[in-house]
Amino acid sequence: MSFSSEYFDTKIETMPINELKELQLKKLINITRHAYYLSPYYHKLMSDSGVAPEDIKSFDDFRKVPVFGKDDLRAEMATTGDPHGGILGCSMEEVCNTFASTGTTGAPTFMAYTKNSKEEMAEAMVRYLWMCKARPGMLTIFPGASFHWYLGFSMNALSYIPMRLILIGIIHPVTISLFYDAIQRFKPEYFIGGVLDILLALEDECSKRNVEPSEVLSCMEYIYSPAGEYITPETRKKIMKWGIKDLFETGGLGDGIEVIAECSEHNGMHCWMDKWYIELVDPESKEPLGPGERGEYLTTNLFSKGSMYVRFATEDFAEIIPERCNCGRTHNRLRVFDRVSWILKVSNKNVTPTEIRLTLEKIPETSLGAFTVMKYDEKMTSLKIKVAYNPEITKDLKELKERVESHLKEELGVDPEVELVKFEDLSFSFHKIQRVVDLTKEQA
């Protein structure tokens, strides 16, 4: 591996897909066996459904393993008082670090690492960071939040490469003055923690001091966004104007100890197949889907023997991009849309707000991607939607409405009823656009 090479580990990153799948299956069988014999929760779950690890010899067989979700985990934690809910695959003495999840959807859950899973995770992170152009010796700004499973572990990976770290603040605009001072003083080349909130706050800080962002921020070559809010194409263009070479977005899950990241193609996020096994299922029935369909994704962590995740329902709606990526990596790519709880049912199809936004962003007059869906029923026959248009470049409202409707129908396969409105006339909750207005609740 040379410093100028594209891949950190060429062999694994460009492994032919058949070989990769064989490797994945071996690991899958191994981890399932480990979970069955060493983890109380999985033992009970699998034996109750009559599944023995010896029965699992192929990916199809693996579907016999029952699915479980975050709520099951929380219920187990509440009844047994065990912080790990019985999914620990090792003894407590072997656990060296425990992190808590952010707890946005309820009580936080805990992720335990053993010495081995720490090293495996660091290896996965190093490959991602290298993919996002992190190189040895780069001066990097790195925020705190060592309590968090993602950042607490990135420090590990960063020292492997190795990068020179400046440890500053936390990922929250409240510490933005610390970030600004460090960037302006040290001129770092890499910035980890560039989530949308922070980037916008940085821009704000520059304008408060009457300084052009490009003057101060152009020293940064690459920005890495650890699992934050989606950065729209408009915002991305604005940030690139600062003089940045590239901006990488990543995603991940605490429960599942999983990280996914995009490469320089910016077309979906890679997920290393020797570390995680991803499946797509129908959000309600948990049955496998046909090819090309979008659904909830299940993750199986192939290396973690601390907190084990086998067929864990992530509550995220996604699709797997089948084509091989232009970057040369053969590992599958995911495009994650929304949380399953935000899915709208239109004529037996599942539609999510993110899919709608991505479609609208492609049309110049509606490129802001601002809209509000009027959810008039749990099961709708048509998608009633208010879409904001840009009056400066719109010539014919009727023509635009037809064009928007035909795009939506083509991309999402549903019948839309579009009402074109000015941006201010959308529904707002404080300063945020309400993506979905639930009329069913208001009627009740």
Binding site: P143, N156, L178
Partner: protein, 360 residues
């Protein structure tokens, strides 16, 4: 009964027994040797030190004994700040190439007018982890214990407790002692309930937190209807960079919670810390790693043992930016009598440490 005997023995252990109980005359020999070496190492590379020596017309060779240390002019925070404002982010203290693998610890929040950035190398971290582990054993953290670190994420203590910064080649304090470390973001005190939720599941024996959070901690306990007993908590370490709690306050919290309250002073500018031992009779500082003085800032002369002066620290181990005779604005008195715990290293008494309510 066997288990109790083992625990009793463990309670009296030392992490580095020879050094921690070394007779004072031998400690001073080590200090002088390290000081001479350090001065020679950094005289050319540390701009600030070189200037201070030139202004006082002295050279490293002129320091022929530990007493000669008072010939060395004091370095104050404003000396460094002046140079930071002039453009050198480390204020003339950096002794190694910035391109070598050093990490930089960022300033405290909320940011001061002139922020202080502290560079550290891998070896600096190793020394600090060793010192930190000695403190853990000193306050009775044993194998298999759980420790909740509730400090700001960029605080040095968070970095030393577990090997998240440099894995594989070094172990943090928790790995050395086979403890489980739980971390919570301690930058803002409103995040304490989150830490308590974790504590409720894992029952840590010790919690490290900034001194100013103790009242918020009590409120959070009450709101969540928890007690230190539910949490199986044995001690809390309160960390500050200027002052300790007064004796009255310490007794008050200790009795209220039914646990030990240990104080800890942590001065990042010179990678220094000092912590209570079980006797809670002064904060021990490791004298094989630091020279600790209490000085009259006007004259630069050390005050007599037991008298109050400004805490002045000389760092004997750091590579990246060691400071010689760094004077702080922490008011302390010192005691060099051997402690009841058996350790011979000096004890620091911050001004309020022995204050009782009603004292004049």
């Amino acid at each position: 009964m066997e288990g109790e005997k083992i625990l009793e023995k463990m309670e009296k252990t030392f992490y580095n027994p020879i050094i921690e109980k070394l007779p004072r005359n031998k400690l001073k020999e080590i200090q002088f040797k390290k000081l001479s070496i350090k001065l020679r190492q950094i005289f050319e590379s540390s701009e600030l030190l070189h200037k201070k020596f030139s202004d006082a017309k002295i050279k490293p060779e002129d320091i022929k004994s530990l007493e000669d240390i008072k010939k060395i002019p004091l370095i104050s925070k404003s000396d460094v700040e002046r140079r930071v404002t002039d453009g050198d982010p480390f204020g003339g203290t950096l002794c190694v190439d910035f391109d070598s693998s050093i990490h930089v610890i960022g300033p405290k929040f909320p940011m001061a007018d002139v922020p202080m950035y502290k560079p550290i190398t891998f070896d600096d971290l190793q020394w600090l982890i060793n010192a930190f582990t000695r403190y853990w054993v000193m306050i009775g953290i044993n194998q298999g214990d759980r420790v909740l670190m509730n400090m700001p994420s960029t605080h040095i203590d968070q970095l030393l407790s577990t090997a998240t910064l440099i894995p594989k080649v070094t172990h943090g304090a928790s790995e050395r002692l086979k403890c489980l470390v739980l971390t919570n973001e301690g930058l803002l005190d409103l995040l304490i309930p989150r830490g308590l939720n974790t504590a409720n599941y894992f029952k840590p024996s010790t919690i490290f937190m900034p001194q100013s959070y103790i009242a918020t901690f009590e409120n959070a306990l009450n709101n969540l209807k928890l007690t230190p007993e539910n949490l199986q908590l044995k001690s809390i370490v309160l960390v500050d960079d200027k002052e300790s709690l007064s004796l009255t306050d310490r007794k008050k919290w200790s009795e209220k919670f039914g646990i030990n309250i240990y104080s800890r002073i942590s001065i990042i500018e010179n990678l220094f810390s000092a912590t209570d031992c079980k006797e809670i009779n002064g904060l021990h500082a490791w004298e094989d790693l630091y020279i600790v003085e209490s000085v009259d800032p006007e004259s630069g002369e050390p005050v007599s043992m037991g008298e109050t002066g400004k805490l002045t620290i000389t760092n004997l181990f750091a590579e990246a930016a060691p400071l010689i005779r760094f004077v702080t604005d922490v008011e302390v008195s010192l005691d060099d009598e051997v402690c009841e715990c058996g350790r011979t290293h000096i004890r620091i008494f911050p001004k309020k440490y022995e204050e009782m309510e009603g004292d004049d």
